[in-house]
Symmetry: C6
Subunit: 336 residues, 6 copies
């Protein structure tokens, strides 16, 4: 049984970062930087548990959305049958183990089989399981670079295409990529850092009253999980419904010329590589606005999500205080 998302004490940044990605998956994932023992993995599992079931093509190994895009198998099935049957599924958190191989991630084509029986046979990898789910990488900074690369590419393309010796297979691979890392144990290359949509920092809580609350809720949950879940049910349903509504509202959210101006004024004063920061900032602000059931982006929406969107993209300039750019960002935000 899973600890309820809404019963997690504090850690608002991490929770909001996750929710914004659920509302608009094109934001591009979340990197959670923080010390050990801060329930990072628990929080992700808790959110997946809270969300409503998704509708998938019945029997599809890739959780294809009945309204597309489709995997090659669903495409073929659609030609044979008129209507694809559907079923409901709980969302999952697919975890990427350290030391995972490329084949395990993308899946493999069984060439022998293809040659013998004239039919494609695809052994799905973790990306197949991850479609329309969460893909969680603990200690992403300890993973091999080419695997991280591959995951970020798949996340960006939304499709996983495997080709071996003329035989090819594809399936949608749209997932919310969550990475966690402890910066004390090694860094992530800036190239990779930049490709995570948002980035939050988490710390253990030091206020006694909060610590006590955490301790009590944990012991309460461990002692009798059923009773605890029952107690938190209304809170859980409220949040779940709020997220569902935000997803519906998102395409309607408006952006004024002034908001565009504020964004580029902000980012052009910072040492940022490329333009991904601008785009993510705007998308996150739109999602945040939708989460608050508003129809347009306002300045305070930007302020709320600017840190998540930009901080990990700020350069560390040589011969300067490594935090100089972060301070500048804070100043710029304070006078927004």
């Amino acid at each position: 049984m899973i600890f309820p998302f809404t019963a997690i004490v504090n850690q608002e940044e991490m929770k909001l970062g996750l929710i914004l990605n659920v509302i608009d998956p094109s934001i591009g994932g979340l990197l959670i930087m923080g010390e050990k023992g801060t329930a990072k993995s628990t929080t992700v599992r808790a959110l997946a548990d809270l969300l409503p079931e998704i509708e998938v093509v019945k029997g599809c190994r890739f959780n294809c959305d009945p309204s597309g895009p489709f995997c090659i198998e669903c495409l073929e099935k659609k030609e044979r049958v008129e209507v694809l049957e559907t079923e409901k599924k709980k969302m999952e958190v697919v975890e990427l183990p350290l030391g995972v191989t490329e084949d395990r991630v993308v899946g493999t084509i069984d060439i022998e089989y293809a040659i013998s029986y004239g039919k494609r046979k695809f052994e799905p990898g973790l990306l197949a399981k991850a479609n329309r789910n969460f893909l969680y990488i603990d200690e992403v900074n300890l993973l091999e670079d080419h695997i991280v690369d591959l995951l970020l590419d798949s996340a960006a393309m939304g499709i996983n295409r495997v080709e071996r010796e003329g035989i090819s297979f594809f399936h949608p691979a749209r997932f919310i990529l969550i990475g966690s890392m402890n910066p004390e144990e090694g860094e992530l290359r800036p190239q990779l850092l930049d490709r995570f949509g948002l980035c939050v920092e988490v710390k253990a809580l030091t206020e006694k009253v909060l610590r006590k609350e955490i301790l009590k809720r944990k012991i309460e949950f461990d002692t009798s999980p059923e009773r605890f879940l029952e107690k938190w049910k209304p809170e859980q349903e409220r949040l779940s419904e709020k997220i569902v509504q935000a997803k519906k509202l998102l395409p309607e959210v408006k952006v004024s010329e002034e908001i565009y101006e504020i964004i580029v004024t902000l980012t052009s004063q910072l040492s940022l590589d490329g333009h991904r920061g601008d785009i993510v900032l705007l998308k996150a602000a739109k999602a945040y606005s939708a989460f608050n059931q508003k129809g347009l982006v306002e300045k305070e929406d930007l302020t709320r999500v600017a840190l998540f969107s930009l901080r990990h993209r700020l350069k560390r300039l040589p011969f300067e205080d490594p935090e100089a750019e972060v301070k500048k960002l804070y100043e710029l935000l304070s006078i927004l």
Copy 2:
């Protein structure tokens, strides 16, 4: 034949750390730090030998508890038969060899077989053997990180789930994880350190009278093991019974508001990452209280187990005496 647990001279910390984990396995294991030749592995084996037999589903390769949780095979059997037969088994110490592979730990699915015969065939790994037993890792600091990770994950989840190419298998994997290490031969990453429930330090005894006692008992045991075991039998049975009673009493142990307050007052004054320390401290105190046949946690229960629970989670702050936080813990405990 195994040297009796109760005949082990001194080393009270290590012995208590083991016993608390037996009383409440959710404490999360024990890390024994100490020099060579201090009978670490012998002590673990001795405790396993002392404990009463456990009841398992007859013929189950995973030692499933007849009252669940069940492995996939027992689940299937339960649908066919009305009542699962049971048998009694001695607890075992499963040892993890250095250089062990992931497959050897988690087991493997024989894909060929599955395809040819249409039936899952699972070759159990060390986690299967370890279910409801002790899993002992000597020199845990020399083991590869991703294996330690995997073990700690399994220990935390209580289940071992193996999936290969669409075929999946699972069995409960609830074990008491005991690691030993000699800190002179390399450290353990703080990330991993934190995930061991308790941590004790052991040293060889220097008092002559104790050394002589150890020497005599060892020679006495080597010369005639049967006679030695006979002599220690009453002591062994007394301890065994005390542990059995403590396990029964544990769910009844009460925790007052004051105890909660003391815990967070203590931990919020220390440099601790996360909240695992608070939780383990409380659980260990409850188990200790039950071991002493008490119905509630008292201040002295906390004092007794605080070192085990917190010391390995204290941060070494840069530019400070590495032992500064440990000293602070001692001070805080002394004025509790």
Copy 3:
């Protein structure tokens, strides 16, 4: 759907470097050096998308040009049939993953099959797919040397020949090689640097008005790609046509004696290894001239392309300012 090439804001150097290679592929590829998030890969894909379809031998796995050169399979087919059927194909960007093996690049011969059935069976590699397309290597400086070597050799030869135990296979491998790299993450050996025809540097734009334009276009495209593409269609067609015309004009472009003199006067004053710089400079100038629908190379054509052609071939002299030679090149160009 792909973002239109002509809608990419600014980045004229990178766009021109790509176009010149399309006009004259014997220029030898392009190396894009620049920070992350500057849409390097997007730009290459966008150009491929803009170009007209190519005509290929129908069913050929190597996209053979119906007017040759041919792969071994087309050669054999030509002996059997009178006229090879043709079909149209969109150009592709073949991407080279990090950690790719030699076999995956060049393809393999299935010896077993050849022996059993007396027929060559070739499993095409990435070079087969790349024929007459773009071959894109992200982070080329992180690729293993021998793979880069192999790619540059194939690019130089225009053919991929695989031999295993007396069985041989060949196909044309004429592709435009595009490498990208972030110089902050490691260098490329000068040996390899020199073998890329042109080299450009890209940076993120800092002017607010440009940033805003980028942001708006991206959001506009993301919101409704179809409408956006419709809007940019005329611009796209204009550029496509211009490139097609330049390719036709290229063989007619004249080079005067004075132009030869200027080139060698320029290069003999610089620390350049070998003569490749001279040759590429002249070819790029010819292509640029053709792109501007001119029949002869003029001094300003040289000035426009000299930096692309020479900068990455300048030596870093020991004990001198690393940028000394680059400054000299700027000076020499300014007085041309």
Copy 4:
């Protein structure tokens, strides 16, 4: 043909260390530290050659002792036949090559075979050959740690148990472990050092008269081995008989309270990890006493074997003369 043990000139320490282990194998092996060319391996082979044949179960691949313990095969045979036939065998020196694999050491189970024929098939490893023999590791400090570990574990347990995928096999593995090393070529981890029962140092002899004797005996042996063996036969038989008697006498040797007191007084004044030193010292003294046909341990027996038993367990204290503890041991022994 093998050079006779008794004809080996001098090197009394090494010879005694070997003999004590033969008398009481529970002492736990011998580590020989010394320079090259000091006939370490020759001496071990010579001792094995001198000892009387052992009685084994006829045809047993593990040299099982007819009075047990038994390998799984002998156990099964015992159920079918009434009396196990026996045969005599010369003792062997099994040598462990550098670079040996774990499978080669412990043996392997042929899973294919087991599945196809329903019968266990075990391919014995070096431990099988070593049962009741000598296991010699030249340059033990160059062997991989996990192999040394495995050998020391087997030596300590006296059994080799191999399990693969549910099939298990076991056989006794009681051997005298002899390691040799040249300390100039790398150290052994203290963890491993401690687990060798005794440790001796050997040096080449520098006295001319001894060197000449060595040279003459070697040339004499090389010229006519048969004659040389004949000449040394009585001496060989005398020693062989003395060892046989000592083994018989050993269980009768008494230890007074005073001897216990002396041991712990000695060891508690030294920097020793653990208690293994105390135990080995007493066992070696008992074996030495038996070798001299005495019924009780006396102070001089301790003095004779204390260096072998303790020196390699002394810690090198930081910031102190590395030999300080050894000197202290000498002093303590001199005033015993």
Copy 5:
């Protein structure tokens, strides 16, 4: 189509070094040291293209010379037929890829086949292809030592003999070994350096008039290769004929006592390892003399080839100017 050898501007050292090896292959190959972009590989291919076709045993996989030595297959055929049929073949440049394996170089014996059919089956390697051709190794200093070793051994023996499990195969392996390297990218072990017969250094040309000529010829060739080849045909045929004549004349070239005296006077004043320098110097002088259609070696022939033959064999003496020995060689040559 290949750029004509005689149209290569300047680079006389490299061209002569190649030609001398063609005239007398026992000189032992050529090492070309030089910066990138100096057409090293192009020049070798151009020379191979210029040389007349060689006569080979028809169908022989090893290009056996009809007058021997023969491969094992030709030897067997000769016993069956009276006269071996012959055919003409163009000489080839076999290139050794970086990262090549030993099996790929020497070929392999198919043991399975040999056992099943009782016939040797040899899969030829690169040495088979190289027989009587050029073997070109680009960046020889980056190749693994044991491969370079193997190549130099084969070159020295003139035969490639492969043995596996009692089955053996051999074929002549007489090739002209050409290595190239950029000394800025790592050195070659002196051991290997010494085994290349000759060594030349190449640099890009800096004179404007030569650079212009190179540029013009290249553009002329690229624009219309057929016309260019036609223009250079007479020059090509003249050189080809001159080389053919030199090969015929070589055995007749005389060496006077004075020439011997000059050689050893020269070499005994230099720091040279071994005697290979003396021998190569004389052979190169003889080949040079034959190239100039002379019947005897004269002092100026030695002067012309001394640098090629000796420079790479001069030792770098410790604590001396690394070029001291080279200067001494220049001085000694100037007063010859």
Copy 6:
């Protein structure tokens, strides 16, 4: 065709070292230390070529001596037939390639075959070929330690025994081990150095008259090998006969008490590890005496071979002139 041994100019040390090993193979091989280009490998091949053919059991894959010791196959044949047929064979130089594997050295047992057909099938390794021949290792200091170890063990034992899973095979492996190394390219561990019987140093000759002689003979040989061999035939036969006689005489050579005294007086004054030096010195002196057709060892025989036998065994004492011990040896020899 092979250059005649007797035509090799100078290099008396290396030639004598080889000859002494041929006369008494129990000396234990020769290590040649010297710079490149000093014909080390040529000299070994030349000596093998000079020696008379050996008599072997007809068809034996291990060149078994008809008077034993025998390989397992010859032993089995001897039981079936009365007399083993014999044949004559030229001695060979078996060369050990760098990077050789253990299996290639010792051979392998084909387990599959053994199981299927119930017969041992042994694929011989290089040790099989080397029996009764020369085993030459070029650049022995670059070989992996465990291979050198294995070779030295085999050389010491005179037998190669291979065991795999209960199947065993053995054959004699008595060869003359010749290693060469260039000390500038890395050292050999003292452990291994000590196990080569003799050690010589070679240098290129610097005297002009000798260099000229080498050059002339080489050119003479290259020009017409047959004539050259004819010319040196008498000299070759004389040496061959001298060696044959020496082998016969060897067992008769006497050693006086004085000679023993001189040897140990010498060696006990030097820093030598172990006693191997004493033994080799005496054996080499005996062989040298026999080579000079004398019946007893004299002081000058010792003087002649002392350097070869001892120099590589002298220790380099810390904080002393590395050559100090060598100088002492020279002094001691000069006053002998």
